[in-house]
């Protein structure tokens, strides 16, 4: 008989408690702890949680932010003295090479990605997949790290809000009303009980705490509102026509400052607008959902709203300022936050430049029978290709009946592939993760991911056979 939910949870929490007690023994012995976290929003949130938990225990430690588990990192670690290593939000899929380089080192992995490889005696691996739980929706890397921190000291429940930021950054809110569910819901409850988090149902505009309302509306692409998404002037006109007071003195008001009545009016007018526009891609109900507010952060800053916080971390990561993102998660504010805000603007400008290029009528997006192809090798930064693809698919620029396969060149001289599709294609049984995995393996690359968002890393020169195989696999599902 397969294990029930309670049993799965018991199995999930066992290595978490083991990791916590092992970390305590490291500290007691005065060992130097080497921590490596993944560079995305979830990874740096997780790094921040473990860093703060270690700091509170007076541990001697170092945290580095890393793009991916690779030989370079492991060789470097193996060349140092063999002190314990903690890998956060990375490593679970690389057990074999970790064992090869670090078999005599105490290794703790706190991850939520699909595991691959065999465990080894000096390894503690906490990962929802090992207990049959969903690592894409139930709990993220920062969630796993949070439970280790909580097991280290129950006072660390105040870090639950950082774990919520990580989960939102990992898009674990792919549920009705964009709600965090499963194990994530336990973290949310801890946050509310610890008085660090508030949850309410509200309009889900992007930039609700920091952007003028018309700009927040124009930046909202999920759902995509034809004529408003991406059109700041039109949004301004829309709101002015509704009679909204958009300024408080000289300062633009934000969505978070609107009264309940104003929000209700705005929602009902947006519903009317979407219905009248006849857009089949936009459901007005997607405008409403759970909003996670970090109530101890200052109002009208990027850190107050969980999704904006995660977007700030994401922007730092994409602009190669991962140290800033980690510093924020470790609690640094003031000039650190100002620098991170500047990174958001840099990220937005670069993204806009790439989107302009992709959407220009010079055939940069090639349409084939079963997908679109964006060849960005010489133009788009590898760190941005995923974001560019997601926005293009969420917009109404492309036909939602075809996925988008985008390509960029990495610093290491490999080809990075990002595949994105509209959720409407799930009905046809599309799973881009499987397709990327199969097509990448055919050309000696690695691929995988989720059903509507996946990726691959393949050798330069293998693009054509890779794309050919992708087409065949797509035809089987969509043809």
């Amino acid at each position: 008989m397969p294990p029930g939910r309670d049993e799965k949870l018991d199995i999930f929490f066992q290595p978490i408690h083991e990791a916590a007690s092992t970390i305590k023994s490291f500290i007691k012995k005065g060992l130097f702890i080497r921590v490596y976290c993944h560079h995305d929003a979830d990874g740096v949130s997780a790094g921040g949680i473990i860093g703060r938990a270690l700091g509170r225990l007076g541990a001697d430690f170092r945290i580095r932010v890393w793009k991916q588990m690779d030989d370079l990192l492991l060789k470097d670690l193996a060349s140092e003295s063999p002190s314990p290593c903690i890998f956060i939000d990375l490593g679970g899929g690389y057990l074999d090479i970790i064992q090869e380089y670090l078999k005599d080192v105490n290794v703790i992995i706190l991850d939520h990605h699909e595991p691959s490889g065999d465990p080894f005696p000096s390894l503690i691996h906490a990962n929802p997949h090992l207990s049959g739980l969903d690592g894409a929706r139930e709990v993220s890397g920062s969630g796993v790290s949070y439970f280790v921190a909580k097991s280290l000291d129950s006072k660390n429940v105040d870090l639950s809000c950082v774990a919520v930021v990580g989960a939102l950054g990992d898009l674990q809110d792919k549920n009705e009303e964009r709600e965090l569910k499963g194990i994530n819901a336990t973290i949310v409850r801890d946050g509310i009980d610890a008085n660090v988090l508030a949850v309410e149902k509200d309009l889900l505009f992007f930039g609700r705490e920091t952007r003028p309302i018309h700009r927040a509306l124009s930046l909202t692409t999920n759902p995509f509102i034809p004529g408003l998404s991406g059109h700041e002037d039109q949004c301004l006109g829309f709101l002015v026509n509704l009679g909204f007071q958009l300024k408080d003195g000289e300062r633009w008001r934000t969505l978070a400052e609107l009264s309940k009545d104003e929000k209700q009016l705005l929602f009902s007018k947006l519903v009317e607008y979407i219905v009248e526009s006849g857009s089949s891609n936009s459901s007005p109900l997607e405008l409403i959902g759970k909003v996670y507010t970090l109530i101890r952060e200052d109002k009208l800053t990027f850190l107050r709203d969980g999704r904006e916080f995660s977007s700030l971390l994401n922007a730092c990561s994409r602009t190669q300022k991962t140290g800033l993102a980690l510093a924020i998660c470790l609690g640094s504010r003031g000039s650190t936050l100002h620098e991170a805000e500047a990174a958001v603007e840099e990220y937005r400008r670069t993204l806009a430049k790439y989107l302009d290029w992709a959407a220009s009528d010079q055939g940069n997006v090639e349409e084939t029978d079963f997908c679109y192809i964006l060849r960005g090798e010489k133009v788009v930064d590898e760190r941005m290709i995923g974001s560019v693809s997601s926005i293009l698919v969420a917009s109404n620029i492309l036909n939602p009946s075809k996925p988008l396969i985008s390509i960029a060149l990495t610093e290491e001289g490999m080809i990075k592939v990002s595949a994105r599709a509209s959720t409407s294609l799930l009905e046809k049984g599309l799973n881009l993760g499987t397709i990327m995995q199969k097509a990448a393996e055919l050309v000696n690359g690695r691929g995988g991911g989720h059903d509507v968002a996946a990726g691959a890393l393949i050798p330069v020169g293998s693009e054509d056979p890779f794309l050919h195989e992708t087409m065949i696999l797509l035809k089987e599902v969509l043809g």
């Binding site: 703060r52 609690g331 640094s332 003031g334």
Partner: protein, 87 residues
């Protein structure tokens, strides 16, 4: 690119030797710069963070590098203070 080497030597006083060591450890990955026309070396001596930048890329590049280093030191210092406050 110019053949002329421009160098800057920076000394930052910290409150303690541990703090100086932590800051150097935090910013040391920034020492790795591709090419030999820009070399950054950072180390700590007692309570001081010391840094030498040698640059053949022109004065503007030298100033940008110094800006980056000082910013990294500032962020590292802020973060250390926030962790210490957290304990």
């Amino acid at each position: 690119m110019t053949d002329r080497v421009q160098e800057a030597y920076v000394v930052i006083m910290c409150d303690g030797a541990g703090e100086a060591e932590s800051i150097v450890s935090a910013i040391s990955p920034d020492n790795i710069v591709p090419g030999d026309d820009l070399i950054v070396d950072t180390w700590n001596e007692d309570r001081e963070v010391r840094c030498v930048v040698s640059c053949r890329r022109g004065l503007r590049s030298l100033i940008s590098t110094l800006d980056d280093i000082l910013l990294s030191v500032k962020i590292a210092d802020n973060t250390l203070q926030s962790i210490q406050k957290d304990v």
